[in-house]
């Protein structure tokens, strides 16, 4: 998976051409969320109906055609697709996402239960991405065109070009199987999960729930289980951050004010970590918006690889069960998350970056 970083930055800047005040810009960006989500939901609705129905998927090899058709008819899957579509839109507009077909769960419950797990993974992932990507990007910029820089650039390409299911399996093999240091699946051990289940109203964020338990062992257990999934997904993002920080740091280090600081005897360390570092981080805000989509896409594979039971994990299950209702609900939520995060990033970029005019 690759990302055209250079193309990502001007995209924000180009939006400044519309003119008008900040309020109008925000309103315009907010309105764009609606068609984005609408188009995605429509596409998923149509695509899901081209891969069969959940009844055939479940009992296609147990019932004669007449009985199968009877069940499909009773469920309404043989009605014209437009009728089903408008019925679905009507439900969505009234906040009713329905009940999953394959396991009889309210979709909203699925979204909240598994959404928490995915958000927790995203949180750990971003920590890895920041902790690894930013310092290494600075290091690469500092050693520009020398050995460490070349090594780090190769490392960056390697991390964001490696498919997460491959890097996930590799990490599992090394740290889980060969070395036996880290758990290879799940969000916590069975003992911890049983304790969390007994909490009044568990939040779904295992780290928060473990803290509520007041047990260091439980907190450590949750964190240890997060290491490999967070590394898998985080390193991919870290590679992108590394290259972006390096590129911007090199640009910033060549600025006159940096030269001026250098001539006044400011140490290289200070120049890199204080003066050049902050301006170089501004483009990262823009890229984070794009990374959310990439991260959620990667979460499907990462969660499946590590049995991290979040939205991505469930999406894979519901897809195999041809569960229209569940897939539509999850994809709609993911679309909203991506659109909203891009919206927030656009607004932040407009506020922070003076080059963006609105």
């Amino acid at each position: 998976m690759t990302l055209d970083i250079a193309a990502a930055i001007p995209a924000t800047v180009s939006k400044s051409r519309s003119g008008g005040g900040l309020g109008r810009y925000i309103l315009w960006r907010a309105l764009l969320i609606i068609p984005t989500v609408f188009i995605l939901v429509t596409m998923v609705f149509v695509l899901m109906r081209t891969i069969g129905d959940p009844i055939t998927a479940s009992v296609g090899d147990r019932l004669p055609p007449a009985q199968l058709a009877e069940r499909i008819h009773a469920a309404g899957y043989d009605r014209p697709i437009l009728v089903q579509y408008f019925e679905y839109l009507g439900q969505v507009f009234t906040g009713n996402f329905g009940t999953t077909l394959s396991d009889n769960r309210p979709v909203l419950e699925v979204l909240t239960t598994f959404g928490a797990a995915t958000l927790e993974l995203a949180f750990f992932t971003l920590i890895v991405a920041f902790v690894v990507g930013i310092p290494l990007g600075m290091l690469a910029a500092y050693y520009r065109d020398r050995g460490p820089d070349a090594t780090l650039r190769v490392f960056a390409i390697f991390t964001y070009a490696t498919p997460v299911f491959f890097s996930g399996l590799l990490l599992k093999l090394i740290f889980g199987i060969w070395l036996g240091w880290l758990p290879v699946s799940g969000r916590a051990s069975i003992a911890t999960e049983l304790k969390i289940q007994l909490l009044p109203k568990p939040s779904g964020f295992y780290l928060i729930d473990a803290i509520r338990l007041g047990s260091l062992e439980a907190i450590g257990d949750v964190l240890v289980h997060a290491i490999l999934p967070a590394l898998t997904l985080g390193l991919m993002t870290a590679g992108i951050f590394l290259r972006l920080v390096r590129m911007n740091m090199i640009g910033t280090l060549g600025q006159e004010y940096v030269d001026s600081g250098r001539s006044r005897g400011v140490s290289e360390y200070c120049l890199v970590t204080k003066h050049a570092y902050r301006p170089a981080l501004i483009p990262i805000i823009t890229v984070i918006g794009l990374q959310i989509a990439l991260l959620l896409g990667g979460a499907v594979l990462t969660e499946s690889t590590f049995e991290w039971k979040g939205l991505g994990f469930q999406l894979a299950y519901y897809l195999s069960a041809r569960d229209f209702v569940a897939v539509q609900g999850i994809v709609a939520l993911l679309a909203v998350i991506v659109a909203l995060s891009n919206f927030i990033v656009d607004i932040l970029a407009a506020l922070i970056d003076p080059r963006v005019r609105y």
Binding site: R105, G176, I177, S185, A191, L198, D221
Partner: protein, 537 residues
């Protein structure tokens, strides 16, 4: 260099923190961890619903078997049924099946379990008729009457239905509490767990769907299986069999049941500290011949029933089930030589003597002679379809073997193709496939479940096979109360179908569980039910 030192310092700090966390946490190298005296079972099964009206799958039934009471059930080691929470159960008239409940039955929530709950249970199944539910198993049920607190009378549409007692032990049979379950809608899993409407060997204490279930022995259970031997059982659900395999290998779970890959099972058989337990399984894999579009089939240009039969029989002569069982499935599926799998009352090996070398092995000379005698030109071109998405990744290897075996002596040319499951189900009933793969898992452990759905008036296969003699015998065995007489009829049906070869039985799935040292009582029998209550640690 100051910056480098800081960088290395950060790296060192991060590494040591990770190692410290690994040391702090209880479980390393696994997804589970010890849970004291409780037994932890790992599985890849999927639970659709805890409501018996909303689920008709192995994963859900695996839970229900252990938490709900049944009127009749399978004693350990048997495929036949006996009264469970019932005192007695019998046909009092050809269309009346009367069940007398034991006195003083209660649910785990303290509610009384009476005949009213039983009537409510079956009326509710029919009223809801959920698309994911098992209500179709009650097709022969006309009405249910609660005569008094402990007596229930089932009125059947067709008299003397010998499968009805089995139906009561099947996924449609769990008795539910009328004070917890709605009469005309499914109950949510959360409401069920909170309502504790359990009266089986165990009560479900907590349930995190797709992740973890915690069971506690129910001391009010008065049924056939007796008191549970282990007070607490946890079930950890895995999505991936490789993760389940790692969990049992690292002893994060005490027992792994359904499903482990054949390769992993073979590996565990030679591993210290792990014990592989095998038992007969109800799952079968088979090839369906479409009598219309197979070579020389009824709707082909060269239609000839005798030649078509010779083609099917020659295919049966050439198949080496042992080889597929050993090489592809490492013994986790065993050869199946008839329609009713081994372990069930009435099962025989009807194909063994009729085809191949007479002892289950292949015989190409016999196949060649059969084709020559019928005047069939060789090689016979056979289009064979399989659905790996539905029947597992091993299907491709299995069907590659079948192709190789059929083609080995030049008698067949097999065009092998895999199709996506949604398309496959449409095509198979639209006469698109001359021969295709299918599999079956029983609704209940009775031979009839392998005959009526398949062969009575063509059954669900829709392969244009219809033998009046077979139809008549199937109807006869359904209403024959004498067990020996019924078993003989079931044998005759298998013999007849074996001559016609509507389908070619291939393999029977073995049940396999892996337990760590110190865990005993894993019982895998022809009931195909996994009982937590027999486990000890």
């Amino acid at each position: 260099m100051k910056l480098s030192r800081t960088g290395y310092g950060v790296l060192a700090l991060a590494t040591s923190s990770a190692l410290l966390l690994a040391g702090c946490a209880s479980g390393g190298g696994d997804g589970g961890g010890s849970t004291g005296g409780a037994i932890t079972v790992g599985t890849t099964e999927v639970v659709t619903s805890l409501d018996p009206a909303g689920a008709y799958d192995n994963g859900s039934f695996g839970v229900m078997t252990n938490i709900y009471p049944f009127l009749l059930n399978n004693p350990v080691g048997s495929s036949d049924v006996e009264p469970d929470i019932a005192e007695s159960a019998e046909f009092t008239e050809p269309t009346k099946y009367t069940v007398k409940l034991k006195e003083g039955l209660t649910f785990a929530n303290g509610n009384e379990l009476t005949s009213s709950d039983v009537k409510f249970t079956f009326d509710r199944q029919i009223a809801i008729a959920d698309e994911n539910g098992p209500s179709s198993l009650l097709a022969n049920l006309d009405s249910v009457e609660a005569v008094d607190d402990t007596t229930v009378v089932f009125t059947l549409k067709e008299g003397n239905d010998q499968t009805f007692p089995q139906v009561l032990s099947s996924p449609v049979g769990p008795i539910v509490d009328e004070e917890v379950f709605p009469a005309d809608a499914l109950a949510s899993d959360a409401d069920i767990v909170a309502g504790k409407p359990f009266a089986g060997q165990y009560s479900l204490e907590s349930f995190d769907k797709g992740n973890l279930a915690a069971y506690k022995a129910f001391d009010g259970y008065q049924g056939l299986w007796g008191a549970a031997k282990t007070p607490e059982v946890n079930v950890k659900y895995f999505a991936d069999e490789s993760n389940l395999s790692q969990a049992i290998e690292t002893k994060a779970v005490d027992v792994a049941f359904r499903s482990l890959s054949a390769t992993d099972i073979e590996k565990f058989e030679g591993m210290d500290g792990l014990n592989v337990v095998k038992g007969p399984g109800g799952e079968i894999r088979y090839i369906v011949f479409n009598f219309n579009v197979q070579p020389y089939g009824a709707s082909t240009a060269e239609a000839d029933p005798a030649k078509a039969l010779a083609v099917r029989q020659a295919a049966a002569d050439l198949i080496d089930r042992d080889k597929i069982s050993e090489q592809v499935f490492k013994g986790t599926y065993t050869p199946l030589y008839s329609y009713v799998p081994d372990g069930l009352t009435g099962a025989n090996e009807s194909l063994k003597g009729l085809y191949g070398n007479g002892d289950g092995g292949p015989d190409s000379e016999r196949a060649a002679k059969r084709l020559a005698d019928a005047g069939v030109q060789t090689p016979v071109v056979l289009n064979l379809q399989y659905a790996g998405e539905r029947y597992g990744a091993a299907s491709s290897e299995e069907y590659a073997q079948i192709k190789a075996q059929l083609e080995a002596d030049g008698l067949f040319t097999v065009n092998l193709q895999s199709t996506e499951w949604g398309q496959f189900t449409k095509d198979r009933v639209a006469d698109m496939y001359p021969a295709h793969q299918l599999g079956w898992f029983p609704d209940y452990s009775d031979a009839d479940n392998y005959l009526t759905p398949f062969f009575l008036e063509g059954g669900f296969l829709v392969n244009h096979y219809n033998n009046e003699e077979v139809n008549s015998l199937i109807r006869q065995q359904l209403v024959t109360p004498d067990a020996d007489e019924r078993a003989a009829l079931i044998g005759q049906i298998q013999d007849l179908v074996a001559q016609d070869l509507s389908t070619l039985p291939m393999l029977q799935g073995a049940q396999v569980a892996v337990a760590v040292d110190g865990v005993d009582g894993v019982t895998l029998d022809p009931s195909f039910k996994f009982r937590f209550g027999t486990l000890t640690k």
